[in-house]
Symmetry: C2
Subunit: 580 residues, 2 copies
């Protein structure tokens, strides 16, 4: 195997073209072997095998700097830069990581950022009078994000070496959306010659490579632009999932896949029997759409998060809008749609709602339009890559005036809240969709949440009151139970329901028969929910213990370990309270 | 005067072309009369007189919906939609406002949002099977913002009526920056005919109006696109400051101007004798740049905020980068530049840093690159329009891991912190530049802030400790003084210096001789600084009083009244503490 001889890009440069073609096949085998067993980003990496080889053949990494947007397509880059063993043993991360290798420059995982980051590298290079190539690799899907546009707009006027490789595989995570993609198609169809050219409009030099999975063609193109003295776009047309039929046939499911059977491409995990909030939400919204023609589902490039797979999208027709990877637009669009009298429901991952703080504040909340935001995969039960943490949405969303942020504790309560949120027209409402599995209680929940910030006592007790928010409500139950076992005292258990405000009446009334209040929240403590309770009781005798996550970036954590490190097990909490 | 006869657009429609030309002159006189006396956005409104008349002549507002981006150019629109008296009496705001008139649809003041908001209106119209024109007015300067791109990208594929008027006056607040502007120039130079067309690349129909200050030409163009069934861009070339020589000569200063002498255009306020942090910062950075060739100033379309007026920009040369209105890029670019070994200092208004939360978190803080952010005009002493509040940067910035957010209390301390921030390479550092005037103490301040979260006792006392953050430090002094007068007890006064963390050692040591801790912060309490102190003391006997602003949107407030409403006067605070 040639791959086994490659411990750095220098080894790659010794290969002939023919050998590199063989190497492509070897790499594809290694990728498929690993991906089918352990899961990961399948399509993006299979499509980039040849281009990554060609870049490392032509450029001189790490003197020349390769910056991958999102960096979910860096598996091949890792295999070629001394991390072959690490990739196979899973000791390297799934994204670029400067801690792993001098060939990586940033830890990144959100889309559309790489051109801007590269502009910074290029500017520093120029002021230091150094000479090297800054090569940014960005997918067509990422181009719909505003930050990518801002980056391109500025990269074009840098006035020095800046090579932007646009990896056009005609797909985002799902299909692309936006007028820009019409131009990419026109460019592909004309072999890069059509006069109206998005990239040339900025002033970039432009080169088109129709055969984006052909090592020779790619090497020729990269050699042509190497050491250029001005900004250039190399538009390469690749095939997502290249070399693996199931991934080509079903590009959306194979963008990121859990373990699958290599022969058939079928998932090794049977999801059909599992309930999940995404699919439940999609089914619920589809039913609602039938009776309400102005109800729409909105997504920013991740329609599956809100349960709109291709089948549901087809059924929803005009009542589902995927704006592409464009979270800012999604929020502002939803606000405008609500202002126009429609009912928008925007579904988004916690980590990506971060991309629209100003739109939440300005476009939505100042205008107080009744759009509904569903925030998925938040807290410790969400995603665990450092770039995809869902720990920060509580400080982000709940401190914006006018926003009502709700935290359901189970399936019944979630749908009761969603039903209310869609029906009401008084507030922008966000709902923190539980990420700790679909818990069904069989109980009946309030249908009306219009009296804001009314917490609910679910177990009346004394001495200790546990205010257990959203996904940590079950932890609250368990703390109450253990406390009873240890002390024979029944603690009061409270479901606060509202993240964005406090129930002053209830907090005041707790003073009568309680000395201790415990708050539990599934997110960072700083700027979060519990601190508001601590502030309320600041001038009183009440002892307040805030439980949640420490403000820190953690990567690929184990949930149980993280909970324990933050003293978030029932045993630890009861121990703390008994000590005090 | 024709203007006096216009109480709604219906009255305008009765005028002949000749009369409308006279009306243009009348409106310009009214604008100049008001603006010279009271200040406001001069250039943008003078340039839009004819276009606003023509739009109201052709379209049927409010059935047809005019949505103005930023909406700082809506004075003429207000004059023509029943708010003539309100404009002259200053009872209407300087931005569009649905509370004022059915001709306004959104309260907005940040750039680049209107296309997205309009897409929402258009989608709601289509699903409701209504017929009307959605007309978005967006300036060339606003196009550099990512949200505008996301909006255009989606507007182009809406598939129904959507008219986007691009008001190209060849200026942003300062000059434009970005490759896009080369294409706008090519379009102007070719009278809209050049093949490579940024807007056509998205799939828009496109119409160019070279005479953007000619009512007849504008009416003809708008009539041509009225009731179109697909998305169209009308690119109009206007003159910023049209009709007033001083505003044409100095477009940057007349973008927004304080009161000026109508004859000479000279400001009625003599700024030369006043120190301000923007100019002090610019002068300081220029000196530093001389000895450090990799130190750069960065701005996102507001170079004056960091003291880089045209003269300073010329002096700085390659060491000053204005990226245009592109806050996301500015942060990511700064992170990349720091990673490349340079020292970037990005100056930005508090209200606009909101546009880059995800870039602060992902591009900057996860990577822990040592970029320096200077946050201007924060808190109650900043801007007072509801769309420009500087109350939210503490929850926004200080809860991101790895970020060091500093709050200087005076000029000497600010420059000590800035000096350290630029020299160090361990952390991303933000500094909340004081907005309460340049206060000089003559004292010496620490030069080293590398031991994080070390608060400083500036007056040792007992019983009561006042932790007074940044611009509220002087309020803390005043509270301590008054408390001494009332009780003869010397309170401890603390300058916390660090917003983003607490000094646990000091807080613990306060327990010995203090019963009460007061925190003072110039921003919303929710998610802010004081709540962290309240959390720390939650399980102790310490009484904590958090003072700051209520979480709410306020508009055009009076500082003293807002302070009093939030119980932020020294007398109110001492009263509260004595009561407790």
């Amino acid at each position: 195997m040639y791959l086994e001889q490659i411990n750095s890009p220098a080894d790659l440069k010794k290969l002939t073209l023919e050998q590199m073609n063989v190497l492509s096949g070897e790499i594809r085998q290694v990728l498929l072997n690993e991906l089918s067993q352990y899961g990961g980003h399948v399509g993006p990496n299979l499509g980039m095998v040849e281009a990554t080889i060609a870049m490392h053949y032509v450029f001189n990494s790490p003197i020349d700097k390769l910056v991958f947007d999102v960096s979910h397509q860096t598996y091949v880059h890792k295999l070629l830069t001394g991390r072959r063993e690490g990739y196979i043993n899973h000791t390297v991360t799934g994204f670029s990581n400067p801690g792993e290798s001098p060939h990586d420059f940033f830890t990144l995982g959100h889309t559309s950022t790489a051109v801007s980051l590269s502009c910074g590298l290029a500017k520093a290079r120029d002021l230091k009078n150094e000479k090297n190539n800054i090569v940014t690799i960005v997918g067509d899907g990422s181009l719909s994000g505003g930050e990518a546009f801002e980056g391109l707009d500025n990269a074009a006027v840098l006035g020095s070496n800046m090579i932007i490789v646009v990896n056009d595989n005609e797909m985002s995570i799902a299909e692309n959306h936006g007028g820009l993609y019409g131009n990419l198609k026109a460019l592909r169809d004309s072999n890069g010659t059509c006069e109206c050219n998005f990239f040339k409009a900025f002033g970039f030099d432009y080169l088109y490579v129709g055969e984006g999975n052909d090592v020779a063609a790619l090497i020729a193109a990269f050699e042509q632009v190497k050491d250029t003295t001005h900004p250039v776009v190399v538009h390469i047309h690749t095939q997502k999932g290249k070399g693996y039929e199931p991934a080509i046939k079903d590009e959306e499911d194979f963008h990121y896949s859990m373990p699958f059977d290599l022969e058939t491409g079928k998932s090794k995990i049977d999801f059909s029997a599992m309930e999940d909030y995404s699919d439940l939400t999609g089914a619920y919204l589809l039913e609602k759409m039938k009776v309400n023609p102005t109800l729409i589902g909105v997504s920013s490039g991740t329609p599956m998060v809100i349960g709109f797979h291709p089948e549901q999208r087809k059924k929803a027709g005009k009542q589902f809008v995927d704006v592409g990877i464009a979270e800012e637009h999604a929020v502002a669009f939803s606000s405008g749609f609500a202002k126009g009298g429609g009912r928008p429901v925007y579904g988004v991952y916690s980590t990506f709602i971060q991309r629209s703080y100003d739109q939440l504040a300005q476009d939505l909340c100042i205008n107080n339009n009744p759009a509904v935001m569903l925030v998925f995969m938040s807290g410790v039960y969400g995603m665990s890559d450092v770039t995809h943490l869902g720990f920060f949405d509580i400080p982000l969303i709940s401190n914006i005036p006018n926003m009502v942020y709700l935290a359901p504790t189970c399936k019944e309560e979630y749908f009761a809240m969603l039903e209310w949120a869609i029906a009401q027209t008084s507030h922008p409402v966000s709902i923190r969709v539980p990420s700790n599995g679909v818990i069904t209680t069989g109980k009946v929940y309030d249908k009306d949440y219009s009296t804001l910030n009314q917490y609910q006592i679910t177990q009346q007790g004394n001495s200790v009151a546990i205010i257990a928010l959203g996904t940590f409500y079950q932890l609250g139950e368990s703390v109450a139970k253990l406390y009873k076992e240890k002390t024979n005292v029944t603690a009061t258990l409270i479901n606060p329901r509202y993240i964005s405000g406090i129930d002053e009446l209830m907090l005041e009334s707790l003073k009568k028969e309680h000395d201790v209040v415990i708050t539990l929240e599934d997110g960072v403590l700083d700027g979060g929910f519990g601190e508001k309770i601590a502030r309320y009781y600041g001038d009183s005798d009440m002892r307040v213990f805030n439980y949640g996550l420490k403000k820190e970036f953690v990567d690929r954590f184990n949930v149980e370990q993280l909970m324990e490190a933050n003293r978030l097990t029932d045993a630890q909490i009861v121990e703390d309270v008994l000590k005090a």
